[in-house]
């Protein structure tokens, strides 16, 4: 089962702390390699909290862990903290402003139980070398 949601990105305090502690560390993956979904969207998706999901947009695809919204409710909106996971799928078009469209990317979320969430360095490295599964 796949659901369509509107993806936004942004800071969280966990993102900030783990970023300063080292982006190569597991804490950074735990803080940012996630997607926050509203309980109603979880019900539509038919998945347990903590399940790995694949998030796909017109611009890319990434595997993250689905968690319940920490600052909700916000049905229909999904949140991935700013970082390389979110940036795999955000809309990079700047529409002549210089600013990529980091907020408001339509994405599909589907369960991907057996696919791992990569750490930040691995994700970027594999992405650059074209070694990511899609």
């Amino acid at each position: 089962m796949a659901i369509r949601v509107n993806l936004i990105t942004g800071r969280t305090i966990q993102q900030g702390v783990s970023m300063e502690a080292g982006k190569e560390k597991p804490a950074y993956t735990a803080a940012c390699g996630i997607i926050e979904l509203d309980p109603t969207d979880f019900r539509k998706l038919g998945a347990f909290r903590g399940t790995n999901v694949r998030v796909t947009s017109d611009y890319g695809s990434v595997v993250v862990k689905a968690v319940e919204a920490t600052q909700g409710p916000h049905p229909g909106i999904a949140f991935i903290p700013m970082g390389p996971w979110a940036n795999m799928v955000v809309n990079p078009n700047t529409y002549s402003t210089g600013m990529p469209t980091f907020k408001g990317t339509p994405v599909t979320v589907e369960v991907a139980r057996n696919e791992p969430v990569l750490n930040s360095l691995e994700l970027v490295r594999k992405g650059c070398r074209g070694e990511l599964a899609s």
């Binding site: 305090i13 990079p92 990529p100 994700l123 970027v124």
Partner: protein
Amino acid sequence: MSRTVTDVICPFCGTLCDDIEVVVSDDGRKLHEVYNACAIGAEKFLHSQAKDRITRPRMRQDDGSWKEITYDEAIDYTARILVNAKKPLMYGWSSTNCEAQAIGSEIGEVVGAVVDNTATVCHGTSLIAVQDIGIPSCTLGEVKNRADRILFWGCNPAHAHPRHMSRYSIFPRGFFTGKGHTARKVIVVDPRPTDTANVADIHLQVEQGRDYELFDAFRVAFKGEQLPDFVAGIPKEKIYEAAEMLKSGRFVIIFFGMGVTQSLGKNHNIDAAIAVTRDLNEYTKAAIMPMRGHYNVTGSGQVWGWLFGFPYAVDLSRGFARYNPGETTANDLLRRDEVDAVLVIASDPGAHFPFSSVRKIYELPSVAIDPHETPTTEVCKVHVPVAFVGVEVGGCAYRMDNVPIETRKVVEPPDGMMTDEEFLRRVLERIKELQGV
């Protein structure tokens, strides 16, 4: 034994807290504890002491492994890629001091580079709007001492600027705001009920991407004109109530963040926000301020403002400064293959640029100057670790309200480690040698 250094400046966010206390060893070589800082700021100070910190430059080998190189080799590599490139991109600048930014600007002029800072993915659109219609702003001191109506639009300081609310905006008792938060009214506009919205009197859960409409609705409501039943998902009664709350204040401050700068509409959203501020001044005193992210992104805009007349996205490749967001901005240049070398300093585009731009950095000759190991260092050919500005070296930084504050050195960097400023100065010398000038 240890000693406490007081009045230390926190080099994390644009709030630039200046009341941090740091406990260091007597010889000033070890940093033990950090007081008063938020969780992120404390982590930044403590991470300088990490055992696994990289202390020497390294170069990527063909097999993908790293090889340690000397600073001299790193300086030579950096100078050469900049000199050999037709149009190099020098990106970042926001987590270093103004002194390093000034030298970087000189390098940019000498090699004909495009210099861009993190505003390009942060408040760049705000800067465009400011140039469109100006900005009635103030300092954070005025906010603390005078503001009794606080509007947070598309920003979440509880997470991104953790001490902003307690030091300046909601809770402090100032000269004319002696009752602290009890005499202030707080409005939050955000598509999520954020932790900041939890402390607000009114939360307007705007439909994502509909900020422009809601700004305009406020302007209509100020004038007492008719609104449709719902605007951007908000019932009109709530908009009238919020507008009245703002008009009835003695001093209104609007803080805005990525919710408006990065959503569709971009600079036009900020145009509308500034117009709301201007309209409010018909009824009371109002000011507006962007919630700047990196602690010295404002300073980088200031330095280029003095030197080139533009705050970001400055193209020096033709021998004079040009500025055209959408053309001379880092992401557009990378995605359109318009640059042929990349120098990244004091920022992490590897983590914070859309991946299509990151891949381009990977394909180009590239240097990352950063104390941390990051996704950017992972895709660059050379990684140059440097001392932490604000922890291991001082220098000037600008707070989000454009107030310059001198950051302090509290602890020694690891032996033999260069600062941003020293490294760039040596690169500039080497470039002049290579160019024979």
